[in-house]
Subunit: 352 residues, 2 copies
């Protein structure tokens, strides 16, 4: 297990590792109300689709635990209010909405007819979501093992490790679990502009776990594939829609195009909580646009001239045709994804 | 004409605009010997293939002008020594070697039999190279005009403007000349990690010239092509070899792959001094590897954990098959490039 944690329930508050200060400082911040949790998600104290799902669930738990509501119905009203604020914190990752809906669904159980029972149920549901994310990470790593050659040069985008989930992670979890199984993996880490989650966070996690790694600029991936023999690419996801189109950190699509040009397998790794069967096509995914400052500055250093116009899209959509397979805790989906994802989600629902 | 200059002969010294301090400070540095010029090229005070060719030529001029040699033969010896130091400053761009060989060739004229005659000839040859680069830039812009729709969304990588040449530039010169001809161009500028020449230098030049522009991270180019209708890509070159394979700033190849996937024309813009007919294939181009610090730090801000392993390749090679055309001052070469480049270079030699 890691020597740090990403998000945790501590003494009636939500404690998060402030990822904006990594890798140089390891600061934990505590949030005691949903507005604080929503702000932390929006300001990217915590990021990564599964991690923000868990944080949002705890955002409802913290609302419930500290509520002064006089009965269960009023508490339900407060939870719905909190959920609408949390839901708006970031639009693209579906795990946020998924986790909120799941906790609200549990809270809707009419048998929970006292404030105390409702408080207890909401907190337990948030804990369950957190624990299931860890189990899902471990299972994704297991499921991916047969796909990882030994040795393997693996290209990875953004951060998808413990910091993006609760423990282990999605795509970086796959690399870590292969490493723990003795496979000689080498992770080539896209630095992932603008927020540099690869250079800052994935490099930090690889260092902690002794995984051999090399940081590259995002523009170097095609050249590496052309000249150095990359065996596969693994990326996470913020939203996978019914046809397999996948929203993920900006730069993922360029990586997928390079992989296709070189015949390099390109895998998306994500828990089934990232799959959004309600949205048929990637073009319908809302792409978050973030402040220009993320591009114009690194820390306090200004890069561009004053007032340079910037387009800062946080995510892109990789069309399903570029995806070799989608690795989930419930199995690996292969094209055609309309069918394989539908079957996979049926299985998930039956088993839950 | 720009309100700044990139490299200029001033009072027996080589004056360069220190591009490392842009866009925030406009500092000019003077160099009075070849070692200083070579250091400035290596440390990227000046960069861009045509600009470093001109700077190197002036590096020989400064050597000649201040020489204490007692006869022409000793001065030729000094020039050869200076050229070998200048040549080693950066390995990938061919313009550096081309300019040095041209000045050495001129200095080899046996009619130049006094130190004074040789000094004069070397300086005149350096001036001629500088002036020809300006003329070449203007002609490239003219040649490209019919290829630029109106309006046009043009994706551009790195910096290829006045700062990379002497005035106007190659790919950015094409955009600027189209703008000056009244075409409604919008430049989408790859920021171009690691040294951010797009965000720092191209944005600064576009601002100076009133060219509408937007800075994007390098990973966003494919998404822009997929969703926003980019009309063409233009890039410069550090070396174009006989089969058309082109070495240029890292990230160029990923851009070319994205362009191909979306049917977007991908043009290389470079003076014929960038064409290296002696090298048959791109795999034979030496790719400069630069210090890790360019990736691990932005200014004084450290991004990665301490001692993070980095692979910092300054250039990549875009295979000819991804290039729509090569726009030079002597015309536009189209595939098959083996033939069109050979014809173009014959024409250049006949006319010179």
């Amino acid at each position: 297990v890691s020597a740090f944690f990403t998000v945790k329930w501590v003494d009636g508050r939500v404690r998060m590792l402030d990822q904006r200060a990594l890798p140089h400082e390891t600061n934990y911040l505590d949030f005691g109300d949903y507005a604080g949790v929503a702000g932390a998600i929006r300001d990217m104290v915590i990021r990564g689709a599964p991690a923000i799902g868990v944080a949002a669930a705890y955002g409802l738990a913290v609302t419930a635990i500290h509520s002064q509501a006089r009965d269960a119905s009023h508490l339900r009203e407060e939870l719905r209010e909190a959920a609408s604020v949390l839901r708006a914190a970031r639009p693209t990752a579906v795990n946020l909405a998924w986790a909120l809906d799941r906790v609200l669904g549990r809270a809707g159980d009419p048998e929970l007819d006292t404030v105390e029972a409702l408080q207890e149920a909401v907190l337990q549901e948030a804990h369950a979501i957190s624990q299931e994310e860890v189990r899902a990470s471990l299972q994704m790593g297991q499921n991916a093992l047969p796909l990882i050659p030994d040795p393997a040069k693996i290209l990875h985008h953004c951060n998808t490790g413990s910091l993006a989930t609760v423990e282990y992670g999605t795509a970086l979890g796959v690399i870590r679990i292969a490493h723990e199984h003795g496979k000689r993996v080498h992770a080539y880490l896209d630095e992932t502009r603008p927020r540099l989650q690869g250079a800052r966070l994935s490099a930090w996690e690889c260092k902690q776990h002794g995984i051999p790694h090399t940081v590259i600029v995002d523009g170097a991936s095609g050249h590496l594939m052309r000249t150095m023999g990359i065996d596969l690419c693994v990326v996470g996801a913020d939203r996978i829609v019914a046809n397999g189109d996948t929203a993920n950190k900006i730069g993922t699509y360029n990586l997928a195009l390079a992989a296709r040009a070189h015949g390099v397998p390109f895998y998306v790794v994500a828990p089934s909580s990232t799959i959004d069967m309600q949205t048929p096509h990637g073009d319908e995914i809302e792409i978050e646009q973030r402040p220009a400052r993320e591009v114009t500055h690194v820390g306090e250093v200004q890069i561009t001239p004053d007032d340079t116009p910037v387009l800062n899209l946080a995510f892109d959509v990789t069309p399903a045709q570029y995806i070799t397979g989608i690795i989930t805790e419930a199995g690996i989906a292969y094209p055609p994804f309309e069918q394989s994802l539908a079957e996979l989600m049926l299985r998930v629902r039956r088993e839950s």
